[in-house]
């Protein structure tokens, strides 16, 4: 049994089937990437794992637990945190308040403030802007804030939905470096990306999604050299 196992999952939005018998695994400590174009089902997959959308068939099992009985808002307490697509930071709240919200399920106040400091150490730009409203930050800073917010909960499994979206190449590199650092410190990462190049640079393994099902999979280095991947996703 793998650490996180998604097994034969179907997801429907009304009559439209977004995921078709989707199956993949994530082992503890890895960085796994899900690649694919728009509409491939990448966000749906993350929302499935986060229990925001239900599966009509198949199971999601994490650390041996079938997730079907857990409510979405209880996942954070168990160590499963998502950094959603589009950042979704709380725009009229300050950077600091956003981070504090990441610690909503953390009981120990001291732990929260320690982790906030750690996040500021990892991403100093956020410390500079700690009293600024989240909505006034640049795209890249908002992405860092979104990740930082997730880190306050000390996640064991961190899901990231298209962290590079809308960012300039230099910013993308910074964000990816941060993700790698987070992984090195002990968090398992499942990252969904359209930017295959950036994702494959940090991932251990990757899956390619098309039409809600896996079409290719393998170690990142292998996929990076695969001509089908190169043609479709790496800009030829």
């Amino acid at each position: 049994m793998s650490w996180l196992e998604v097994d034969g999952v179907d997801v429907f939005y009304g009559r439209i089937q977004a995921l078709h018998q989707l199956s993949f695994v994530v082992e503890e400590g890895e960085i796994v990437s899900l690649l694919g174009n728009n509409g491939a089902g990448k966000s749906t997959t993350l929302n499935l794992v986060s229990r925001i959308v239900p599966a009509s068939a198949g199971r999601v099992v994490w650390q041996g637990d079938d997730m079907a009985r857990t409510a979405a808002h209880d996942l954070v307490a168990r160590g499963l945190v998502q950094v959603p697509e589009g950042r979704r930071i709380f725009s009229t709240m300050t950077v600091e308040e956003n981070l504090m919200l990441g610690g909503y399920r953390v009981r120990d106040k001291k732990a929260i403030s320690q982790r906030v400091d750690q996040v500021y150490d990892l991403m100093p730009r956020l410390r500079e802007r700690r009293s600024q409203e989240g909505g006034t930050l640049s795209g890249g800073e908002q992405q860092m804030l979104a990740i930082g917010r997730a880190l306050i909960a000390a996640p064991k499994l961190l899901l990231l939905d298209e962290p590079s979206m809308g960012l300039a190449p230099l910013m993308v590199k910074q964000v990816m470096d941060i993700i790698r650092t987070v992984n090195q410190r002990g968090t398992t990462i499942l990252v969904v990306e359209q930017n295959a190049k950036a994702a494959l640079r940090i991932a251990d393994r990757a899956y390619v999604l098309d039409n809600g099902a896996v079409t290719l999979s393998g170690p990142a280095s292998q996929l990076a050299g695969d001509p089908r991947v190169v043609e479709a996703y790496l800009g030829g």
């Binding site: 986060s50 925001i52 409510a71 979405a72 808002h73 209880d74 996942l75 954070v76 307490a77 945190v81 998502q82 959603p84 589009g86 979704r88 930071i89 709380f90 725009s91 009229t92 709240m93 308040e97 504090m100 919200l101 990441g102 909503y104 399920r105 409203e133 909505g135 006034t136 930050l137 640049s138 795209g139 908002q142 917010r149 909960a153 809308g166």
Partner: protein
């Protein structure tokens, strides 16, 4: 002139307390809870019943009012939660209009339910619970039932006490929303429900909490109203609810400070309006402002600020 301002601030305190509930609920689930004014009325009736039914409460003077305030707050809070759970929650993903109509339906339910139980006639507030009754104030605090001169105008001690209570409640609420974990969670839900869930916030439970607080405040206002004006009727929530809604819009709906500001502003506007145009124009004046704000500045004085960057 001072008297007009004092009158306006006093009435405005009631508007503010009720407007808070309107604003909080709108802020978090974008629903205009038209039953909210009737929660205020229900709180008054609960208060009156407590004062008549609880044995020995008459001898406590204003202490009785304090106890009754607490009981009414808890019961109206619970009523608000019940209404949300049974009537609004099942319609969370329904078109906005459906929920609005349901709210109107709840309003009728409360109004005519109360009418059925207590009758259509106005009920005098029990003597033992009246704030302007000298006999209810203990020896050292007799100023409560007397007029106090302030800068050219005057108010009864009771009025000052009520206004102080309103200020305290609003301050506590502001602290709660601004500084506590749960308050932050409420603000988060108002901004982005999905992101709030991803933080681990139990959105349903938090929404219930919002309804509890908003309704409890309305219940307190209801008891205060009965204790001061000495007469309650089953339709008293209708007009006051509309005024509170107006106040919330004027101040900026969804905004806590807006509700407080809007309430006081509306009270002052009405006081000046009636002084200039005559008593019968009070409501016309108030609703002209509602229309003016909805047309010219729908986000209200403090506005709904939304800063987004993609």
């Amino acid at each position: 002139m001072t008297q007009i301002i004092l009158n306006g601030l006093f009435v405005g305190s009631f508007y503010a307390l009720i407007a808070l509930g309107y604003s909080m609920v709108y802020g978090i689930i974008k629903l205009l809870n038209f039953a909210h004014g009737d929660i205020f009325m229900f709180g008054a009736y609960i208060g009156m019943t407590c004062l008549t039914v609880i044995p020995g409460i008459g001898s406590l003077g204003i202490g009785a009012i304090a106890i009754v305030l607490l009981i009414s707050a808890l019961l109206t809070g619970a009523t608000g939660v019940l209404i949300e759970t049974l009537a609004y929650r099942p319609l969370r993903s329904a078109p906005r209009l459906s929920v609005l109509i349901t709210a109107v339906g709840m309003s009728f339910l409360l109004e005519y339910g109360v009418r059925q139980i207590w009758g259509p006639d106005p009920q005098p507030w029990p003597q033992a619970g009246r704030l302007t009754e000298a006999a209810n104030w203990p020896a050292g605090l007799q100023w409560g039932a007397q007029r106090i001169d302030i800068l050219g105008g005057s108010l009864t001690g009771a009025q000052l006490v009520l206004m102080a209570l309103a200020v305290v409640l609003m301050a506590v609420l502001a602290l709660y929303i601004g500084k506590t974990r749960e308050g932050r969670a409420m603000r988060a839900i108002a901004l982005d429900k999905r992101a709030a869930t991803l933080m681990g916030i139990n959105v349903n439970a938090t929404i219930s909490r919002v309804f509890f607080i908003g309704s409890a405040l309305a219940g307190v206002a209801g008891v205060m109203h009965g204790a001061y004006y000495s007469s309650i009727t089953f339709l008293m929530g209708f007009l006051l609810g509309l005024k509170a809604f107006t106040a919330a819009v004027i101040g900026g709906i969804g905004n806590l400070y807006g509700a407080m500001l809007g309430g006081l502003t509306l009270g002052l506007l009405e006081a000046f309006g009636t002084a200039w145009f005559g008593g019968e124009w009070k409501d016309v004046f108030a609703f002209v402002f509602l229309i003016a704000f909805l047309t010219l500045r729908p986000t209200g004085i403090l506005g709904e600020r939304v800063v987004e960057r993609m």
